[in-house]
Symmetry: none
Subunit: 186 residues, 4 copies
DNA sequence: AATGAATGAGATTTCATTCAT
DNA sequence: CATGAATGAAATCTCATTCAT
């Protein structure tokens, strides 16, 4: 709710969300984020008590983005439309995935090495995504909705890893087509 | 290849391979690795010029493990046997994956944030794996061998991410059965 | 002496006096004091140019308290009554002393490490206390009034240190009885 | 037991003991201590994991000094001799007390504001001193040995505070004579 | 007068790397 | 070859003080 003074807090979380995705949590310094947000380093601590607090806020930003993406998809008429819309979004982002991977996936992978609560925060977002997909498959009358949902999200996470590792956006496009056909076949 | 002095070099690379997988590259200090290998810190630099050199050696160790796994699978009679053997290996490692993810995948994800050559080293191992799978599908007479290979490895990487994020080894087991059926269906 | 604006200045000095006693000068931040006084941090500087100015005001508050204590004792009929009244006051405060020590003594001890004038301010209060005791002993006809006064105040400061160090309020009570007997014996 | 490389660790604890006494714990930076010991700041952390660890070591140094002082006094023939020897030592140190107070007392006063274990460490030294004095009074056949011991140490702590506050070493000398007479009178 | 926000200097701490023996 | 010790650059974090409104 704090929106005074040019939305500096928001600028910081946005910059953090982007930079942490690009550089990873451990490699990114507060100075990196402060610079990207054009805020003096010392000032960051006015808004966030620790670096982890800022990381948490950035995770929240990614979660917000995910939520609004899913909300937009919910406007589509049928469950298969929605699922295919999700896949289309992934394909649209393939250049970013090739360079930095899926934000949720790479953050989850990095944070899972730690035992603080941050890993649970990002896991919650991943779970929200799987849950959403499950609801779509369920609406399509599938008994194995959960398994299908896991398979879909896993397919995306997996191809993100390969797309990123091989720096080949085209891989995402190919897999996207495969997933579209698969959804249609259900 | 040097095997002098009580295999200290090997102890270091082995320890590095394990600890880097468990803790991640950035969170792991040289001291962590030295301790795990029971080698004095100062001594590490006799064997490795920099930390990155040691990371590279650890990547090599993971590559060796992968190569010998594939070599063992090559002993199996038919390509589907080999592919299903690969999947079985993944399922067998599901507890490790739940705790730390796939070594190759998590290392690739972390190193891809950097642009210093190490990311290309780990990418090479990932490529070797895809190539091997492609050869199997090719031997099965599939025209779309490359695409199938990518899909298989992506499925594994993806379920590794979810297994790790949710700390649920069972996800890997379920996906393993799905992949087995899929291979049989080809 | 300014009493405008809801006595904010007074609230600040009172809070400072208390918090500085409890936490010590160096460990206490301006924010701590502002919070305790329920005054916005930025506002403190309207009343006090620097942190040291506020510390000085807090010292003044302790001095005021001391002065009014002595003024009240001056109402008692005889010098021994007054001295024993002083001792009784110390014993009454023993729980506070056990937790945080004598305010004057602990502040003096901490400020004496500095050479910036504040140490002289607190020394003045300590001197006022010794002077008052000297006047009582003098009125009792003692030639060694100064020496006795120093001994009395030192006894209190010393037992405050021990009471605080050992967290044993009872020490103060025992020493109080000893001092009462001693005063009676003069 | 580590005594290599020019006893740098010892140099650090000695410097810390001195500088912390002179400047107080909170006002003293690691850089201050490192400079006094002629050791690079970064190197301090090779010997002490945190600043508090170094403070603890410095407290230990003060404790060692106290112990050896008492051990030397134990060589004196009679308990009164020993107690008066203790007092003589205090008087001999009066210039230091006038400038910085009693090391044990001022450290105890400052550390008692904190709730970590360091306050208990310094309290232990203070207790050792009281215990030693109690043993002497006990050996003199006094039933009230504990109370006398507390009174003696309190007298010293108290006069240290005044000597320091007023910057008057002579106060310690006067009180020393008073305590000598008092011991003789028992 | 009042105050949320801003700032920068400085403190603690970490760690890859180097050095002396 | 081996190794405990050393080093300095850089990162996180704190806080008195100032600023803009």
């Amino acid at each position: 709710m704090t929106r005074r003074s040019g939305g500096k807090r928001e600028r910081l979380t946005d910059a953090a969300a982007r930079v942490l995705h690009e550089q990873g949590v451990e490699k990114t310094t507060l100075a990196d984020i402060a610079r990207a947000a054009d805020v003096p380093v010392g000032n960051v601590y006015y808004y966030f008590k620790t670096k982890d607090d800022l990381v948490e806020a950035a995770i929240g930003t990614h979660g917000d983005a995910l939520r609004s993406t899913l909300a937009a998809l919910d406007e589509l008429p049928t469950p298969p439309d929605r699922l295919k819309g999700l896949v289309r979004g992934w394909v649209d982002q393939r250049e970013l995935a090739a360079r930095y991977g899926c934000p949720t996936g790479t953050l989850a992978t990095e944070l899972d090495k730690r035992a603080d609560g941050l890993d649970r925060k990002i896991a919650a977002h991943m779970r929200a995504l799987v849950d959403w997909a499950e609801r779509q498959f369920d609406a399509m009358g599938r008994d194995d909705a959960r398994e299908l949902a896991v398979a879909l999200i896993a397919a995306y996470q997996g191809i993100s890893v390969l797309t990123n590792t091989f720096r080949e956006p085209e891989l995402m496009a190919v897999e996207g087509r495969r997933l579209q056909r698969w959804i249609d076949s259900l």
